[in-house]
Subunit: 103 residues, 2 copies
DNA sequence: TTTGAAGTTGCATTATCGGGCAACTTATTT
DNA sequence: AAATAAGTTGCCCGATAATGCAACTTCAAA
């Protein structure tokens, strides 16, 4: 992740996370990271939507769902299926979902 | 996708797909690609499992499910949830799921 | 050929997703 | 301050994932 520090009194996001949740490998950090992954997916969808200059209602219409559902996905209230994620990205953004397993 | 052609009478996978299903952008190709994405996910999971030298039963035990379910996921009988995919990759392989949206 | 390991498939049950809707809250515009 | 736009949340219901199990098929070893 790129550093966002441009003032010596500010910290990068990674530094902040290290301080607040401990270094990688610590139990506290692992618990945080699980929630962070969920946060990240919703965040990625919201970011893509805003980049396309769309409201939740507009995205919902393109995808064939409703804005309440989009809100829940972006806020990680819903644990979506792969096929639903595909649909949001393809129909909503004309984009591609990229999946990889790193072991 | 890397070419696998090492005999002049063989075709790369991409060439084969172009011949059988048409070039990208054609309707026939789009229908194929949707199924291919699903196939690919199951294939990636199976590949990771074999790389770890595990049986479906061993993977199921680590993840906390059963081998029948692992078989279904690998063969894409099931449209899994993101959280289930995460669990398989983290608990089963000690790996990471990498997700990206390309627009 | 027989046996055992590994994988597949069907079915019942339980839990939860997704669609839909509307009431609500928050943000923005007038 | 009021009106409008955008976003959030709860609930119902039908559809489907996940769990569990066992019977079955295929593959590998003896």
């Amino acid at each position: 992740m790129s550093k966002m520090t441009n003032d010596k009194n500010l910290k990068s996001l990674d530094e902040f996370i290290d301080e607040q949740y401990g270094k990688r490998g610590t139990k506290k950090r692992e618990i945080f990271e699980e929630g962070y992954e969920e946060f990240k997916l919703g965040f990625l969808i919201r970011q893509a939507r805003l980049e396309k200059g769309m409201t939740q209602e507009e995205l919902a219409e393109k995808v064939g769902t409703n804005k309440g559902y989009i809100s829940k996905v972006e806020n990680n209230i819903k644990d979506v299926r792969i096929s639903t994620l595909q649909k949001i990205i393809k129909k909503g953004f004309d984009g591609e979902l990229e999946l990889a397993i790193r072991i």
